[in-house]
């Protein structure tokens, strides 16, 4: 087997959209099942009363990370063909901070706001509306923001690449940190 399937021409653009719909459906299912369509539960992350966001997010990252590592080691997944988001240090630090402020204020992130909205939550619908307005506002202000947006480009770089250590070492470190943090999360919740 060789993957990514789309990149090696196993199916066309219409097929890709159907896969997108199907994968999105399962993604939305697990978000809702995990309780991430509920803003009160998400906000609990920032008051250390409910660490569901952290648990779901990091167990997902660790799962994918291990999958990517082993599939590419076995030669089944051509990692260079998987799109790696490019790094722009300043806008990603700044944008991340702005995003975090909006996150604790809105209580939902863009993906989970769609789940909240489609499960009957009016606050979810308002976050969706706000997102649309925010994207519009950014786009209209783009000529002013373009300098920051394009600042400090580093290309598509990874942590092991920048540190000059093997991919597997960083995978091991992330998994070890995650396991420690999961224990700490349980302890924090028990205290809250």
């Amino acid at each position: 087997m060789n993957a990514p399937l789309y990149e090696i021409g196993a199916f066309g653009d219409t097929g890709a959209l159907l896969f997108a719909l199907g994968l999105g459906l399962v993604f939305g299912w697990f978000l809702e099942r995990g309780g991430l369509g509920n803003a009160t539960k998400l906000a609990g992350q920032f008051y250390l009363t409910d660490l569901t966001v952290f648990k779901v997010m990091f167990s997902a990252i660790v799962t994918t990370l291990l999958g990517v590592y082993w599939l590419s080691k076995l030669g089944w997944l051509e990692l260079p063909l998987v799109f790696l988001p490019p790094t722009y240090v300043l806008p990603q630090l700044l944008g991340g901070a702005v995003f975090g402020l909006g996150f604790v204020m809105g209580g939902l992130c863009p993906g989970t706001s769609c789940v909240a909205a489609s499960t009957g939550k009016t606050d979810g619908l308002m976050v969706v509306a706000g997102m649309l307005f925010g994207v519009f506002a950014f786009n209209e202000a783009f000529p002013l923001l373009e300098g920051v947006y394009r600042a400090t480009p580093m290309g598509s770089v990874t942590i092991p690449g920048v540190l000059g250590v093997p991919f597997g070492v960083v995978v091991f470190a992330v998994v070890a940190i995650a396991l420690g943090a999961f224990r700490a999360a349980g302890w924090l919740e028990a205290r809250a």
Partner: protein
Amino acid sequence: MLPAVGAAPATAAAPPDAEGHGAARPGAREARPYMNPYLAGVGIGLVLLAAFVIMGRGLGASGAFSSAVAAGVSSIAPERARTLEPYAAYMGDERRGPLADWLVFEIVGVTIGGALSAWLAGRMRRGIDKGPRVSNGGRLAYAFGGGTIMGIGAKLARGCTSGQALTGGALLSVGSWLFILAAFAAAYAASPLFRKEWT
């Protein structure tokens, strides 16, 4: 000390703060408890891995909002949508239009999958999730404001919790991990300002 932690907000004892009316609506089906968060995380991780294997790209959410905004603007001001870069970048294929896009279809899937899950678990009900000390109108204003700020932040960072944190995070992208650290640091730093909204 806080009554509304853990499973409380959306489980059987219907939230007393949802739209002001709560407990025991007769005939309302009992909501089932949420799944173990680690299992839900593993499920999401496998979906993301499948996206890499099938498509060679990951999941996302804010990109779908960009496509929707580009579609809206192009229907009102087509010239602007063609020329201003953040719209033009999301105009997609000339013939198929901005909405025939991987992330748009994925997000449509997310809304359907979420609704299906909630419905089967008896959690599909109208309401507003919030702490007990804020009015419905106040919470909705915060929701709109938070969404607006997140929209700006996600554009600046080229992605959100799905496209940067999950997808880029699982590929060990440097920028994605900077995004994760900055987002959580800012959210914790700002959390005292919104304590009344949530607790």
